[in-house]
């Protein structure tokens, strides 16, 4: 709650709205006990007194009634009606929306078409029709305003409910024996409540305005009762001669609606989880670089990551996602990077081309050298030219990396044309050739498919084709087969293997699967808590793992053909990288750990090509 208020008041405009609204609400609540004149007492002798007349601070109206008194009583009534209308509309509309969204199918269809019909009428016409049928009066105006706003809530809440109703916890509730009514009330409602509050906070102002509109037309509050709309309506004839009678209620309406809208926007921003996590702050084009310490000298590798440090600065916390990683690949070589989630393997890969989102990502040390040239801190244009041209990426989920609204051929052509000046026709020919290279059958017709028309394996082939489009020197593949079926995975892996042998591609292959590494990679680096704990030729590391983590990780993965057995699990959880223990990060889970493991930094040591970061290694390397 305090966090919510803090967020709310960080938005200055929302804070201003909140203050103005609180003052108005306080005044309105105190109205009955304030020493005001009777708002309905007429004194025709004193009609149209100017503001600041003694006894009448805001003057009087055409019947000589005190404007201040009428204003406060009128505001009280208008606010009460507007807020009640909002509550009624929100309750009925949300109920309709939840029922339609939860049950779906025909129920949804019938309800939502009814709502659509209601929406097809201009709201004022609908409200007029309702009031005409029920007769004028404030109560009927309230009903009319509530009714015309029901569709807004119904549609909004239905959308949210549909996405929630497909979630697994709803199924779980059904399996726990809950009925529909209970699921709606205890499972769905708490989850849609924030949306209802947001929708309400942004519409209350609008509803106050609509009520005032109806009263202005003489369909709402009836004389002598004052509300803001009727005050305006009565003052209309004296607009030119005595403008203060219109300006006073008009100003009040303006203040109320403005403050409610400012506050409502603030509430929405503070409650929306996407906005709360800072999604609105636009990431920079390249990762922020704040390098401390010395920059390592150039090496003769094709791509060399040298003592890279990448951190995430979230509030006061610093997550050391990558804490000093050095990797290198030569042409035609495949390097496997293996690790569990949170080990920093993906962040390492994204740091190469400055693709880590900033904020919150910051590269704080080391270098990434492509053919000797340092890419960390390189200008955006240099990076942009190399991204996809010299160093290309393949990501895990091809459905989220391909644009759903463009044909795959157009996306391939765009990848080529952003680096090479060739005609669209040539680009298309090249795209077809690429699709053939990744062995997509009927490439000529498949090129005009949209991503959703292809299977997962086909889409990943398009992803690979796109990575190959400019004949890069290095491909960084981040779990490219994890989302695929095993038979498709086997095809994709053999495709990548052929490509690197034919074209001399260097591949950095990130995965959590030892079987994949064993089949594809020449060398492997094992990462844990943002650092490399072991590296060496794949066969040597897998046959004789030197780090206890590597050994136990291999042991806890079941292998096909091993038969039924107890698996050697590693107890505990990987550490969170904002609070790493001193010394070895694996020590808390390691049964070989001694006091000196927890004392200080442990170097990555060994005779090339093997190295291990452990004081009591399983094997001497």
């Amino acid at each position: 709650m305090t966090q919510f208020l803090k967020l709310l008041f960080r938005n200055r405009l929302a804070g201003f709205g909140a203050v103005v609204l609180s003052v108005i609400l306080l005044l309105v609540l105190l109205t009955p006990i304030l020493p005001l004149q009777n708002p309905d007492t007429t004194a025709t002798a004193d009609r149209f007194l100017k503001p600041f007349t003694p006894g009448h601070p805001l003057g009087t109206d055409h019947l000589g009634r005190d404007l201040l008194s009428r204003l406060l009583w009128g505001t009280r009534l208008s606010l009460a009606v507007g807020i009640s209308a909002a509550l009624i509309a929100a309750t009925i509309g949300s109920a309709i929306g939840i029922v339609a969204g939860y049950f779906g199918g025909r129920t949804d269809n019938v309800i939502m078409r009814g709502v659509d019909m209601l929406m097809a009428f201009p709201y004022i016409l609908l409200a007029l029709a309702i009031v005409a049928a029920l007769g004028p009066g404030l109560m009927n105006a309230l009903i009319a305003v509530a009714a015309v706003n029901v569709p807004f809530f119904a549609r909004n809440i239905r959308g949210v409910t549909v996405s929630l109703a497909g979630r697994e916890f709803i199924d779980a509730a059904r399996l726990a024996g809950m009925g529909h009514a209970r699921i709606i009330l205890t499972e769905l409602l708490p989850n849609v409540l924030p949306v209802i509050v947001i929708a309400m906070s942004t519409t209350v102002g609008w509803m106050i305005l609509e009520t005032a509109g109806l009263s202005f037309l003489g369909l709402g509050s009836q004389p002598p009762q004052a509300d803001l709309g009727s005050m305006l309506g009565e003052a209309r004839s004296a607009l030119i001669t005595h403008p203060h009678t219109s300006v006073v209620p008009g100003l009040m309406i303006f203040l109320i609606v403005m403050s409610i809208n400012l506050l409502g926007d603030g509430v929405r921003d503070a409650l929306d989880p996407r906005l709360r996590s800072g999604a609105l702050s636009r990431p920079r084009a390249t990762t922020l670089v704040e390098r401390q310490g010395e920059i390592p000298p150039a090496s003769d590798d094709l791509l060399a990551i040298q003592d890279l440090h990448t951190q995430f600065h979230v509030g006061k916390r610093i997550y050391r996602a990558v804490g000093g990683v050095s990797l290198a690949v030569k042409p035609g070589e495949c390097l496997g990077v293996i690790g569990e989630s949170g080990s920093g393997k993906s962040v390492t890969a994204l740091s190469v081309m400055g693709l880590v989102a900033s904020p919150p990502g910051v590269i704080t040390g080391g270098a990434v050298r492509f053919q000797g040239e340092d890419l960390v801190g390189a200008p955006y244009e240099t990076l942009r030219q190399k991204r996809g041209d010299r160093v290309a990426y393949i990501f895990q989920d091809p459905l989220s990396t391909l644009h759903p609204l463009y044909r795959v051929g157009e996306q391939l052509a765009e990848a080529i044309q952003s680096h090479h000046k060739i005609s669209s026709k040539d680009a298309r020919t090249r795209a077809i050739a690429l699709l053939k290279d990744v062995r997509i059958p009927n490439a000529e017709s498949r090129i005009d498919n949209y991503p959703h028309e292809m299977s997962g394996g086909m889409r990943q082939r398009v992803g690979i084709a796109m990575a190959l489009a400019n004949e890069p020197d290095v491909i960084i593949a981040d779990e490219p087969t994890t989302a695929l079926d095993v038979t498709v995975q086997a095809q994709i892996l053999s495709l990548l293997d052929d490509l690197r042998r034919d074209r001399g591609l260097a591949i950095v292959f990130i995965t959590h699967d030892f079987g994949v590494v064993a089949q594809l990679c020449d060398r492997v680096a094992v990462m844990y808590a943002g650092r490399i704990v072991e590296e060496g030729p794949t066969g040597a590391v897998l046959d004789a793992p030197a780090h206890p983590y590597t050994k136990r990780l291999i042991a806890c993965v079941p292998e096909l053909g091993g038969g039924r057995r107890e698996l050697a699990a590693i107890p505990g959880l990987p550490p969170v990288v904002d609070d790493l223990p001193p010394g070895c990060a694996f020590a808390p889970r390691c049964d070989k750990a001694r006091d000196d493991c927890r004392a200080g930094d442990i170097p990555l040591d060994g005779t090339a090509p093997r190295a291990v970061r452990c004081l009591y290694a399983e094997e001497a390397v």
Partner: protein, 318 residues
């Protein structure tokens, strides 16, 4: 008496009738299939995406009404889709532990639900039962008043298992229970499941796409392809000596340390289209052994060898 008996169970999802022309046939997500699971047994169900394994699981726990066929649990027929009737006998553990826990409820409220609704327990009975269940999945009681977002994937999956256990079912359907977890945590959860089975005499239906995992935990394994059972056999035999070419393809595709990388099938093979299913064997288009017979008639599931069944006109030899 088998713990679970399924007879000719099938599910067809109807397609929308087009504005003009006749209604099309629905998508046959699960073709008529029959199998039995013995008391205390773990039956592995393995297949690739779109093979109907999740549809099967949802029918078995009553979340989806079968189009045809019968489900019998401990001799009691349960054909209607009413999770409450199924709940005491069969429970479900979801794939994604985080999405299966309501983010706005405390862990206690989540685990209490089946006790309240299915067993109508009072507060004291519920507290005792929850402590018991929580102890058996190795979670501390202090977690009960926290909310789902505070837990890691492995812990959340334990909570999901605890919720299923709380209903005291005879059978648990585990739908990819470890595929969202890291490998080091995956082994913890698999071992926990094995302990629970021994402790409570549970029967498992373990659905996964991971051959190594299913082999490590199952007694028998069913291989599904395109909504139908293509092979059924003992876990230690089925991948070592497959009879159906598809099972063999699966076994050869799984990445194994120490095996050279080869693409086990032709590069241009296409998966069958569910909207326009092929007439004969669904695997014929990808099968190196396919003949005209395969493309014309669908092979039935037949016994081959001691306790292995396969649906193939030209099965592989031992």
């Amino acid at each position: 008496m088998p713990a679970l008996k399924v007879e000719n169970l099938a599910k067809t999802f109807p397609l929308k009738k087009p504005l003009f022309g006749a209604a099309r046939d629905g998508v046959r997500a699960v073709r008529p299939m029959s199998f039995e699971v013995a008391e205390g047994e773990t039956l592995g169900v393995v297949g690739e995406s779109g093979c109907g394994k999740s549809t099967l699981a949802r029918m078995l726990v009553g979340l989806l009404e079968p189009s045809e066929g019968h489900i019998e649990i401990a001799g009691k027929a349960l054909d209607n889709a009413d999770p409450a009737a199924f709940g005491k006998l069969i429970q479900y553990v979801f794939q994604d532990p985080n999405s299966s826990l309501n983010p706005r409820k405390s862990i206690r409220q989540i685990i209490e639900a089946p006790l309240k609704r299915l067993y109508r327990m009072n507060r004291a009975e519920r507290a005792a039962r929850i402590s018991e269940v929580f102890a058996s999945v190795n979670l501390r009681d202090e977690f009960l008043d926290r909310y789902p977002h505070e837990f890691s994937g492995g812990q959340a999956q334990r909570i999901g298992i605890a919720r299923a256990l709380a209903a005291n079912p005879r059978i648990i359907v585990l739908d990819e229970p470890v595929s969202a977890l890291d490998v080091s945590v995956q082994a913890q959860v698999l071992n926990l499941l094995a302990d629970l089975r021994a402790q409570f005499g549970l029967t498992y239906l373990f659905i996964t796409h991971d051959l190594a995992v299913v082999e490590a935990v199952s007694d028998r394994i069913v291989v599904l392809y395109f909504g139908a059972v293509v092979e059924l056999g003992r876990a230690e035999r089925i991948f070592a000596a497959p009879r159906h070419p598809y099972t063999s393809l699966l076994a050869q595709s799984a990445p194994v340390v120490g095996r050279a990388l080869t693409a086990p099938e032709q590069k241009d093979s296409e998966l069958p289209d569910p909207l326009n299913p092929p007439p004969g064997c669904a695997f014929a288009g990808r099968c190196p052994r396919a003949t005209d017979l395969c493309r014309a008639t669908d092979p039935p599931l037949e016994q081959m060898g001691e306790d292995q069944f396969a649906a193939c006109h030209h099965p592989l030899e031992d």
